[in-house]
């Protein structure tokens, strides 16, 4: 689907056209679900996030601006922010956990989760050229935060690095990315 097709569907969605909204869903839900699954790790949680995102997209379709990116990246922003919110509240719950509480964040991951999503199973895009210029661990840290929704703390657990260095690595990595992208 071309960008002008997406834009047309989004405009009609903003006008309350349910049929156009369904078409937009058919064309984009696979991408939004892939993003969500990488972060939430479980199909049911990932589906909840996609559901919330599309409810928001229906209500906020009129607030799309081209400056926020193409329609698809705007929609991905929405699902990612939703996943980050869900992950944060699951983590906050886990910190205040009492006996007998059901903690979703501790449940085992679905086996269907595409573990390779970090490195495989995707096309290379412009920003990958710039990511390639970073040091390996710096790139890896940014990818873990982006694709897995990991916090600084979780990234340092994953990469076995001190917290302070993970923070400054990510920060410097992003600054370097910015210079490369300009």
């Amino acid at each position: 689907m071309t960008e002008s097709d997406s834009l047309r569907l989004l405009m009609r969605t903003a006008e309350g056209d349910a049929q156009a909204f369904r078409q937009l869903y058919d064309h984009t839900s696979g991408k939004l679900f892939a993003v969500s699954l990488g972060m939430m790790k479980r199909r049911d949680l990932a589906e909840d996030a996609v559901q919330d995102a599309f409810v928001r997209i229906w209500h906020n379709a009129g607030e799309y601006r081209a400056e926020k990116g193409v329609v698809l990246t705007w929609m991905i922003s929405i699902v990612r922010y939703r996943c980050l919110d869900l992950l944060r509240s699951a983590k906050a719950r886990r910190e205040h956990l009492t006996d007998g509480d059901l903690d979703l964040a501790d449940e085992p991951e679905d086996h269907a989760t595409p573990e390779g999503a970090l490195h495989a199973g995707r096309d290379r895009v412009r920003i990958d050229e710039c990511l390639d210029e970073l040091e390996d661990q710096q790139r890896h840290a940014i990818q873990l935060a982006y694709f897995r929704g990991m916090t600084h703390q979780e990234v340092c657990g994953q990469l076995d690095l001190p917290l302070g260095s993970v923070k400054s690595w990510i920060r410097r990595g992003l600054q370097q990315l910015k210079r490369c992208l300009e």
């Binding site: 991408k31 990958d128 990315l177």
Partner: protein
């Protein structure tokens, strides 16, 4: 966080905001700044464009059909969309026939259209076209002037304001569900000050006995505490 932020610092904050690694305090501060600063908004949008290209590069994974069904139910779209319509191939715009009798001669179309109208009219009188609101509440002020009407169906909740509502720029009206079991009021969302607004239908309508709906006056953006600040009105839901 003010305008003194250097471009470079603002840009790094924006990048970490989009990436999701900002701590809660800084995140909230940046969100507030975005409300007033075009520079901050632009910085965040630029990173949303760049970083979310990574998400767009992932291979599609199809969610289960239940996702669309739930979206449809939450938005009250059920029945408006047919699942296969999006994938239906466009029909040829002209039908030609090499056979002797062409069933699509022009006189046929008005006849088919007339028959369809007849069928639709009879279907409409035979079955209700839209799900009727199941419960309604009218919120009135002390002089019994109607301010809002709330209609609650099995799928959604729609609130309509009347002309008696005076729009205000510095405060909001918030709707609350007060349950009979004595639990703290639960927010249902902000009320429209003009026109109509669809609010998410709280699951509590199905699990708790509703005592009344209440309306409170709140600072702009809604209650800062999660509880009503100043309750102004209440109304009961009745079956329509």
């Amino acid at each position: 966080m003010t305008q003194q932020l250097s471009d470079r610092r603002l840009d790094t904050l924006a990048a970490e905001y989009v990436l999701g690694t900002l701590d809660a305090d800084t995140r909230v501060k940046l969100q507030r700044l975005m409300m007033t600063s075009d520079r901050a908004r632009q910085a965040v949008w630029r990173w949303e464009r760049e970083l979310n290209a990574l998400g767009a590069s992932l291979n599609d994974v199809q969610p289960g059909p239940v996702v669309w069904q739930r979206i449809e139910a939450r938005l009250g779209l059920a029945g408006q969309v047919t699942a296969d319509s999006a994938r239906a191939k466009p029909r040829p715009s002209r039908v030609s026939s090499s056979r002797g009798w062409n069933p699509f001669q022009h006189w046929v179309w008005p006849a088919i259209a007339a028959a369809l109208v007849l069928i639709m009219v009879s279907l409409n009188t035979w079955q209700a076209p839209q799900p009727a609101p199941t419960q309604v509440a009218v919120i009135q002020d002390a002089s019994a002037r109607a301010l809002w009407s709330v209609s609650l169906t099995e799928q959604d909740m729609v609130v309509t304001s009347t002309r008696e509502v005076t729009p205000s720029t510095d405060r909001d009206y918030q709707l609350w569900l007060v349950a009979a079991d004595g639990r703290a009021p639960v927010s249902l969302g902000l009320l429209p000050e003009t026109g109509q607004r669809q609010l998410a239908r709280s699951a509590l309508f199905d699990t708790a006995t509703v005592d009344v709906l209440a309306v409170s006056r709140e600072p702009e953006g809604g209650s800062p505490t999660g509880q009503p600040t100043e309750v102004l009105y209440s109304a009961q839901l009745v079956m329509q």
